[in-house]
């Protein structure tokens, strides 16, 4: 058994490590850029809605449409359709670099809706209180909406990151690099099913870790919760450290 694993790792270890690294890079950059676009969009959706702090039917309607259109396009189609645009933007439509523009364009509307949902959970009374103190819309966004919604935004972040991770696997179909690419190239094209399943296991582990870290982070910053006991103790990093030491 161990020998088999050893032989497997000797043959494919480098491929897996490189693939994981590429996936990590794609997910991280795409997530950051998606939030750079998605957060202002989500904020604008909340602020301009009829009950918002700066209602504007036109802006709200147009943004809603744009976001819905972005959300309706299947990622696989967007990926192919955007190729000329991607090439023009970053010089290539393949590899990690080529995958990022379609990932961001596809994920940003998704992030916008996640942000909108999180912000809509902020107590309307608290927003009204801020208005009653003479806060401007910008101050309300910066000092009320975003900080008050932060634990929920972080939880939403986990969903966004996992969604983007899933997209990177699809992007593998057009040679984006990363674990999805390995699964298709080796598993599908060359018939190395074992490697395909290993990438699946890697992806499962990634998703678990992401969810775990974001859950912990959200709990850690949420001042509505009792901060004394569990949240500190089950800190993933501490647990990881514990694990490393016992080994």
């Amino acid at each position: 058994m161990l020998e088999t694993i050893g032989a497997f790792w000797a043959e494919y270890g480098d491929v897996l490590i490189e693939g994981s690294w590429e996936t990590l890079i794609m997910v991280t950059i795409s997530t950051v850029l998606s939030y750079v676009i998605g957060v202002p969009l989500g904020v604008a959706l909340i602020v301009t809605q009829p009950q918002g702090i700066r209602p504007h039917r036109g802006i709200c309607g147009v943004l809603g449409w744009i976001v819905n259109i972005g959300r309706s396009l299947p990622f696989a189609i967007l990926l192919v359709a955007l190729m000329p645009f991607t090439r023009a933007l970053v010089g290539t439509a393949i590899g990690v670099k080529g995958a990022i523009p379609p990932l961001v364009i596809s994920a940003a509307p998704f992030v916008a809706r996640m942000v909108e949902t999180s912000l809509s959970e902020v107590d309307a009374g608290v927003v009204e209180a801020a208005q009653s103190m003479g806060a401007s819309p910008l101050q309300i966004v910066r000092k009320v909406y975003l900080p008050e919604a932060m634990p929920s935004l972080v939880l939403g972040g986990a969903i966004s990151v996992v969604t983007i991770l899933a997209y990177t696997a699809i992007a593998g179909m057009v040679g984006a690099g990363g674990l999805g690419d390995i699964a298709i190239q080796y598993g599908h094209n060359r018939g190395v099913t074992s490697l395909m399943w290993v990438t699946v296991v890697f992806l499962i582990i990634f998703v678990q870790i992401i969810q775990w870290v974001f859950n912990w982070w959200s709990k850690r910053i949420d001042k509505r919760l009792d901060q004394t006991a569990d949240t500190r103790k089950f800190a993933p990093l501490e647990m990881l450290a514990h694990f490393v030491h016992t080994k």
Binding site: A129, S132, M133, A135, S136, E148
Partner: protein, 336 residues
Amino acid sequence: MSIIQIQHLYKTFGTGESAVHALEDINLDIQEGEIFGIIGLSGAGKSTLVRCMNLLERPTSGSVVVDGKEMTALSEKELRLARRNVTMIFQSFNLLMQRTCLKNVCFPMEISGVPAAQAKKRALELLELVGLAEKAGSYPSQLSGGQKQRVAIARALATDPKVLLCDEATSALDPTTTASILALLKDLNEKLGVTVVVITHQMSVIEEICSRVAILDGGVMAEQGKVEDIFSHPSTDAARRLVYPGGVSLEQYPSGTRAVRVAFNGGTAYQPLIASLAIDLGVKVNILGADTREIDGKAFGTMLLGLPDDPNDAAKALSYIRAQPNVSAEEVAYHA
């Protein structure tokens, strides 16, 4: 001098057939430094009225003058500045849950650009003033309802407002906590001279701290005046519904009925007043309506008693009731 003057204020939600007339022809004059109550049943329009005072709701028509400024004529920016002068506390406290108490009190000062160090110093003073200095570093979720409202009060005072609007500020609190918050408001009114406008559906709140009261009923101003006048001579149905327990109307009793409204203000023990009247004086009174409850062994609430026909008996009963500790009694007018 009047600090809030409202004239011919109308507020309509929606248009056409579905329009709801929340407020109709409201006229109010609130004096600087007083504690003014606005009472009404839910749906009477009192929350809308109080939001018209800081323009959180824009009146459909009419004039709202606060501290000499016509609020409806201000630009957005001017309005934001004016709101620092008319702050508000709420039934659900509306504290920022992700900020400490200290940071909550700092919030309005952050907004108005007070330097951080100065804001912190002032916030600590305010927390001290409301008796919560030791909770400066705590988060709202760690506080009781009464403590949350104290923080909210400190926050509302941070910009040195001339008017403090209290929207059902004690409605989510138990009677003991309500009493302590009301005492605090009264204290702040006396110490700082801040005008307090109290919105409530509870007559006991008005009775406790207000000097004048306005009664809202279905969006119209039913009655306004000094609290003791309205309590002893409610002249409208809306007022009687609120003043008399169970909403009894004196009109249903024969002409010549003398009645007394008895308020129990938390005597140390519940006293069977009616029974002792009969035993000690041999005078029988008729309970026309009652709404009393016992909280922690203390009696709260009101009763409307019909006095005996004999004037001597009636006078004896009245003075007996008045002699009880923590009980106040007012003879109420009969309206033929």
